[in-house]
């Protein structure tokens, strides 16, 4: 029997729809694979009973001819998404065994369309991290290893559980979130595809907030097409989120395979950062060549404020986080560590409940919003943000359809290798991705090939606001030209 878990989401969908395969068979295969893949630590909570019950319900709907667009397809859910009746912790100790009495809008739309939940996926605590090493449940181990080495590598972060699970074939697709690159960087590190849609495209309601003005939900999956299928279900206006966009959701799958002939692709010269490896440089060039070969025009463009994006991001995001995380105070839910009075209870709870990186960002955020520092930091960072957005607007006004950049400055690194003494070393991972969040634009990461060490490398395409379709069309060109990266060796089972 062929390994059902190796199918793409689109293949599985077609097989289930054609009744060649039942959701129950498919789900059982995944439940089994999930269990075997525990050494990866991708799932922080497996929900096999729920998965099988949902699969059974899917099979009944299929029998009745009432199947939804994702009917019977098993997915993994990042632990940042509130799932009704299923523990949701944002991979922080402070939420303890919090079980939400509500379902996030995005996941509720997936269930509406027939999807099946396999469990909750690991992530950096409160999505703060680029390696999935800050999780209270411990790091996720990437299914990928360097050629000839068994050193454990990171799957990227913060959606490291999502990227690892997709790469390891222990879900057909996964939900993820992206505040500064948390979908695209882990996708790039694991040879998977991930899209951060335009800010406002997906509802944030029911997703644990990190930085409200930057957070966006999106999928990680094996192919561009699978991303298009998932995003269609995840996206849409939500009256419960004031920042969600009241726009119709297109059938993104139609854009997959559409011609890119005549499209103008910008290559921003400012992304050629100091010390960029020849390998990344070559990958970028290769990506441009693939698009040119498909009939697109490659144009050098300038995004002059790029170099300020990362420092400005590390002011805006912690500032919002310091306020968003104030609700974890030990009063109403989650962990409480008693103290002699209310202030010491707060201090004890938050000192024990939050990990080191989260504490660091709360401190930075509190500092930059303080009286006397607000204008020097927060206000200036917001001005930079405006300039970054204007950079993109000017480029798009020149008729550029999308911008091509590397997704990350390097391939995946080893667990424990980075950010030990200097957190900035870790923050630099987001250098190509944060601009997109700061400007609220859509960005997709697509595998472009393998490094000399045999690890995936990703390319990023940045689109115009609400033009995810162009990204799917261009992403498909790269995917077809580069060929899907080989599956990682299944060393864990």
């Amino acid at each position: 029997m062929t390994d059902l878990t190796q199918m793409t989401l689109a293949e599985a969908r077609d097989a289930v729809a054609a009744k060649k395969l039942s959701s129950t068979e498919l789900t059982k295969a995944f439940v089994d694979a999930v269990e075997k893949a525990r050494p990866l630590n991708a799932y922080v909570l497996e929900t096999p009973e729920k998965a099988l019950a949902m699969a059974k319900a899917s099979d009944e709907r299929i029998a009745k001819g009432a199947a939804g667009p994702l009917e019977g397809l098993p997915l993994g859910i990042k632990d940042l998404y509130a799932t009704e009746g299923t523990r949701t912790t944002a991979c922080s100790k402070i939420l303890g065994n919090f079980v939400p009495p509500y379902e996030s809008t995005v996941t509720s739309q997936l269930w509406r369309d027939g999807a099946v939940m396999l469990g909750k996926l690991n992530n950096d605590e409160f999505a703060m991290g680029s390696s999935n090493e800050t999780s209270a449940f411990g790091p996720v181990v990437s299914p990928w290893q360097r050629t000839g080495s068994n050193a454990q590598l990171v799957p990227g972060g913060s959606s490291g559980g999502s990227s690892a699970a997709v790469a390891a074939n222990i879900c057909l697709g996964a939900t993820a979130t992206d505040t500064g690159g948390s979908i695209r960087q882990p996708a790039a590190f694991t040879g998977t595809v991930g899209i951060k849609p335009t800010y406002g495209r997906c509802s944030r309601w029911g997703i644990v907030a990190f930085a409200s003005s930057l957070d966006q939900a999106g999928p990680i999956a094996k192919t561009v097409r699978d991303n298009a299928i998932l995003l269609r279900s995840m996206a849409g206006f939500d009256p419960k989120d004031s920042t969600s966009a009241d726009r119709a959701v297109p059938d993104y799958e139609k854009a997959v395979g559409a011609s890119v002939k005549g499209m103008k692709i910008g290559i921003p010269k400012e992304y050629r950062v100091d010390g960029m490896s020849a390998e990344i440089e070559a990958l970028w060039q290769k990506g441009a060549d693939m698009l040119r070969a498909a009939g697109a025009e490659i144009v050098e463009v300038s995004l002059p404020h790029t170099k300020y994006a990362l420092p400005a991001y590390y002011i805006v995001a912690p500032a919002e986080a310091s306020s968003n995380l104030a609700r974890y105070d030990g009063v109403r839910y989650g962990v409480r560590v008693p103290g002699k009075d209310i202030v010491s209870m707060y201090e004890n709870t938050r000192a024990e409940g939050f990990g080191k990186e989260v504490r660091r960002r709360i401190m930075i955020g509190t500092y930059v919003l303080s009286a006397g520092y607000y204008d020097a930091y927060y206000v200036r960072a917001q001005k930079i943000r405006t300039l970054i957005r204007q950079d993109f607007e000017k480029v798009y006004a020149q008729g550029i359809n999308a911008i091509l950049t590397p997704a990350t400055p390097s391939a995946a690194f080893g667990i424990g290798e980075k950010g030990g003494a200097d957190p900035v070393e870790m923050y630099l991972n987001d250098v190509f991705t944060v601009t997109v969040n700061m400007a609220g634009l859509p960005g997709i990461a697509v595998p472009g090939g393998l490094s000399a060490e045999g690890l995936p490398l990703g390319l990023q395409l940045i689109g115009r606001p609400f033009d995810e379709e162009t990204l799917f069309s261009l992403g498909e060109v790269i995917e077809q030209a580069a060929g899907r990266v080989a599956l990682p060796q299944r060393w864990w089972a």
Partner: protein, 490 residues
């Protein structure tokens, strides 16, 4: 605003006169079905935590969504305060930790409030009128309530109020005495009640005041102020200002200086005491709430709301003076409550306005006050009181009997006209009958007749005797005239 100093308002200290300068921040609960950013009910009462949504409890991933009705109420209030309405305003987060503040921040408006400068005309008890400037009005969330008396070791939290919409109405430091401050709050409350944007119920906490008090020598720059937090009755506002002004004057006259601080008023002791100093003040780390877009609406929307506004007390007062010929003072009393004004107008329509005002203010309001009743639950309807005023006007009953009639209607109800008929309360205007009564009284009191001739004011005693004989039904004017003629006095 540095108007000329009114010496009557100065406070005498040991070393000379002092002027008190007061500015107020009024927190008025918006009248609405649901909270500012959630669908939970705003109903007062209920068991603790009955009216709490996931948003109010700040569950992970919850987001605020603005309640359009609260916005409309704030705009209406701004219009009622003749204030600038800002078509674009911004919600900010005010960050601080407290157990009854679930989000760890209050959503408020800091730099860009929904309403800008306006003004309120305030009538003082001595008949003087002052204009108090409004600095701004902004929308914000109320906090929950901490209960410290439910357990010996724990505090409990009730989030029913958490997220309820408040309007913070900030005045300029234009008030110069506790009387002015009380009159200002009273007038503001009247305006809010007319508009229907806040019920003004201070006992339930729908209206609370933070009072900023400083003192200075007349003509000098503003002194250092202290803020008295959360004063919840108009009487306490007056007491708190009086106490605080005296306290500050005492310190300054002893050569001390005022520390800028936040103070609390203790109604039991009638004192203010220090709550926290400027150094202990929170750094609220205000920044625009990224969960909410800037609040924007069109001028057309404001104009539409303006069209729907009721007549406000100042306009009503002016109209009552012009249309019903009542005095400015009476008009002020009549418009203090919208229901009272409506009642008056129902009585006055088609009748003598002054008589109507007299009856409504003196008899009706007096009686309501005595029984602790509200005009909306008055046992005497406007139609009934109107009928009584008619009976006096037609000369059917005397003013004295009218008061008896009012009392009968108050306690027993019924149609005043019928009561007058069936109980024989009609005034006697038959001069023959009155003359007979006058003659009888004169005949019976020859000594008094002599006295009256020397001292004409004695006539009052004769009038009383005749009225008594007639059972109060004789027309007093006719009795007076006939007596004068018969006694031969002018």
């Amino acid at each position: 605003m540095n108007a000329t100093v009114d010496p009557k308002k100065l406070i005498k200290g040991a070393t000379g006169d002092w002027e008190v300068v007061i500015g107020m921040e009024i927190h008025a609960q918006v009248t609405s079905q649901s909270k500012l950013f959630s669908g939970a009910s705003t109903e007062f009462g209920g068991d603790p935590n009955d009216h709490v949504s996931l948003v109010d409890a700040a569950m992970p991933g919850m987001l605020p969504v603005i309640n359009a009705e609260c916005v409309a109420q704030a705009i209406r209030t701004g219009l009622g305060l003749k204030a600038q309405i800002n078509l674009r305003s911004v919600f900010d987060r005010k960050n601080y930790f407290y157990p009854d503040l679930p989000q760890g921040y209050q959503i408020s408006q800091y730099k860009d409030p929904i309403v800008g400068e306006g003004e309120v005309l305030v009538d003082l008890p001595d008949g003087q009128q002052i204009t108090v400037g409004i600095e701004r009005l902004h929308l914000e969330q109320d906090a929950g309530k901490s209960l410290h008396d439910q357990s010996p070791t724990m505090s409990f939290v009730d989030l029913n109020r958490s997220g309820v919409a408040l309007m913070e109405i900030v005045s300029k430091p234009d008030l110069r005495s506790s009387d002015e401050a009380r009159a200002y709050v009273t007038k503001l409350r009247t305006i809010l009640r007319y508009l229907g944007t806040c019920d003004g119920n201070m006992e339930e906490g729908s209206l609370r005041a933070d009072v900023n008090v400083s003192v200075r020598r007349p003509g000098e720059p503003l002194g250092t102020r202290c803020e008295i937090k959360n004063v919840n009755s108009i009487r306490f506002i007056g007491q708190a200002i009086e106490y605080e002004a005296r306290r500050q004057i005492g310190i300054l006259e002893d050569g001390g200086k005022i520390d800028q601080e936040t103070r609390l008023f203790d109604p039991g002791k009638g004192e203010t005491r220090s709550m926290r100093s400027k150094e202990e003040a929170h750094d609220y780390r205000y920044f625009p709430d990224p969960d909410l877009l800037p609040l924007e609406f069109t001028q057309a929307y404001v104009d539409e709301l303006k069209k729907g506004l009721p007549e406000l007390p100042d306009e009503k007062k002016a109209r009552f003076i012009a249309a019903y010929g009542v005095t400015a003072y009476d008009a002020g009393v009549l418009v203090a409550e919208r229901a009272g004004a409506d009642y008056f107008e129902a009585v006055a329509k088609g009748r003598d306005g002054k008589a109507a005002a007299n009856w409504v203010i003196n008899e009706l309001f007096g009686r309501l006050n005595k029984d602790g009743k509200d005009v909306t639950s008055s046992p005497v309807s406007a139609a009934q009181l109107g009928a009584i005023v008619d009976l006096i006007g037609e000369g059917t009953i005397s003013g004295k009997l009218a008061k008896d009639l009012f009392e009968i209607v108050w306690t027993e109800g019924g149609d005043p006209k019928e009561i007058v008929e069936t109980r024989g309360m009609k005034q006697v205007t038959d001069t023959g009958a009155i003359e007979a009564a006058v003659d009888a009284v004169i005949a019976a009191n020859p000594d008094k007749v002599e006295q009256a001739k020397a001292k004409p004011t004695m006539i009052g005693w004769f009038v009383g005797q005749v009225m008594k004989q007639s059972g109060g039904k004789a027309n007093p004017q006719a009795v007076n005239d006939i007596l004068k003629a018969k006694l031969g006095i002018e």
